[in-house]
Symmetry: C2
Subunit: 248 residues, 2 copies
DNA sequence: CGGTATTTTGATTTAGCTCAACAGACGTGG
DNA sequence: CCACGTCTGTTGAGCTAAATCAAAATACCG
């Protein structure tokens, strides 16, 4: 436990030249809503996509911009943020490879309702919305699959409304830590390491609180040996207990 | 302004015997996701539905019950509520005729994540999830349409997260009143009357606050002549000003 | 007209925000 | 490899919005 301070995150070293067709094909299969397509259809679909590399902290699109593309994460992590007029941010979602973002069904004239930003270096596929619409009309399994995912996101989102409306900050943060551990956790000597640059402000923007309050609560969890944490990283030591706190 | 106290709501007098096939056919056409079907297909689809009448305050299904049906509102209003262990309720959504509820994509074993309850007398159509899945696989326009609606709900839900995370109660309630006016408002001598039994507790459960606080804020709005309100009803006098308050 | 549910209003308490200062970690360039 | 500047996180003190507790007033229902 001497290295409590050094960042233990394995930074995903996606080089620009790795963001290629080979990787694209391999990963498109991975995307849930293309899994049911056969090889030939998959090849047809693949041609509609273009790949692009982004480095850490880059903005992919901004809230308010005309929505034209649907995007898929091939490598790296993306966060979806909503900015408010007074400067406060709300962190709506964090994405990992295989997930899509940008409204799948925006009509012409619609704009993005959130800002998408990389948390790490990332490789992203894009498809024009019109092309994607055509694919959904051609392959019913695709649209049903996108619907499945969107329904899950809606349920998550409503659960979060429940937490924001009824629970104190401590329980909200405990809950967020458990969710992040489930989605991004990797077994590690430190326990379940959340493989993601994760600041106190990020946590605060997810929990709807200030970074100071988030910090205080994280300190408390650390004192109670529930987590180990340093600058921009968090590892979970006692998930069951955090779960208990969030639900009690 | 003499009758400020008497309820001005026109209660939707849906008699049990009106909830019939005739009404069903007429209304199914109204449902957005069946609008693109031709008459014959519509007839086929219609046969899979059963109609049922519910009276005011009845519970249609409870959170935690096995999810087996997708439902469509033909007449009346439904509210979707999430109950928490400590007794507080969160009002997730209020539905009017034409809207569907119950997860469209629940797998066998899934349960409802919220409770559905009538706010007025209501006529509801039900279809078994397996049957609806078959319809979506057969008619791509249906699944794409359901996806459109679900995406809109997801965006609404995220906007609400933004409000809960960043704005004080007064702005949240102003925002909710504007939204309700847009969805349920009817021109009336009193202004825009929200055609819906709407208590202070309902408002509180939507805004994530206590009914006392909701009451105080409503009193203030009434003093400022922005609304007129009585027991279980609200009319909007000055929507632009409420909008301004919610956004300032 | 009496009974019940809803709403209003008041008084008190408190969780969490804000402002402020400091400390620890990381990157960078010499 | 060290010194410096910057960014992130910690901690403290006071303040405020909103919760809670309590009680009265009003609307509706039979």
């Amino acid at each position: 436990m001497s290295d409590k301070k050094t960042t233990p995150l394995t930074s995903p070293s996606i080089e620009e030249h790795h963001c290629t067709v080979d990787l694209r094909l391999e990963k498109l299969e991975m995307v849930p809503f293309f899994r049911d397509l056969n090889d030939e259809d998959l090849r047809t679909v693949n041609e509609k996509f273009t790949a692009k590399h982004y480095s850490e902290g880059e903005t992919i699109y901004r809230q308010g911009e005309r929505a034209t593309m649907l995007r898929v994460v091939v490598a790296g992590n993306i966060k979806l943020v909503s900015h408010t007029m007074d400067g406060t941010d709300v962190l709506l979602d964090m994405l990992k490879p295989g997930e899509f973002f940008g409204s799948p069904t925006a009509k012409s004239g619609d704009v993005y309702v959130e800002t998408a930003q990389t948390q790490t270096n990332a490789c992203i596929l894009s498809i024009r919305l019109a092309d994607f619409r055509k694919i959904m009309d051609t392959y019913p399994t695709v649209s049903v699959s996108v619907l499945d995912i969107t329904t899950d996101k809606l349920n998550d989102s409503r659960e979060r409304i429940r937490y924001l409306s009824t629970l104190p900050v401590k329980k909200r943060i405990a809950h967020i830590l458990v969710m992040l551990a489930n989605k991004f956790g990797e077994k590690d000597k430190r326990g379940l390491l959340i493989q993601l640059p994760l600041s106190r402000k990020d946590l605060a923007d997810m929990a709807g609180t200030s970074s100071e309050t988030a910090s205080r609560i994280m300190s408390q969890f650390q004192q109670d040996d529930l987590i180990t944490s340093g600058r921009q990283w968090v590892a979970i030591n006692d998930k069951p207990e955090l779960l208990r706190i969030s639900a009690e």
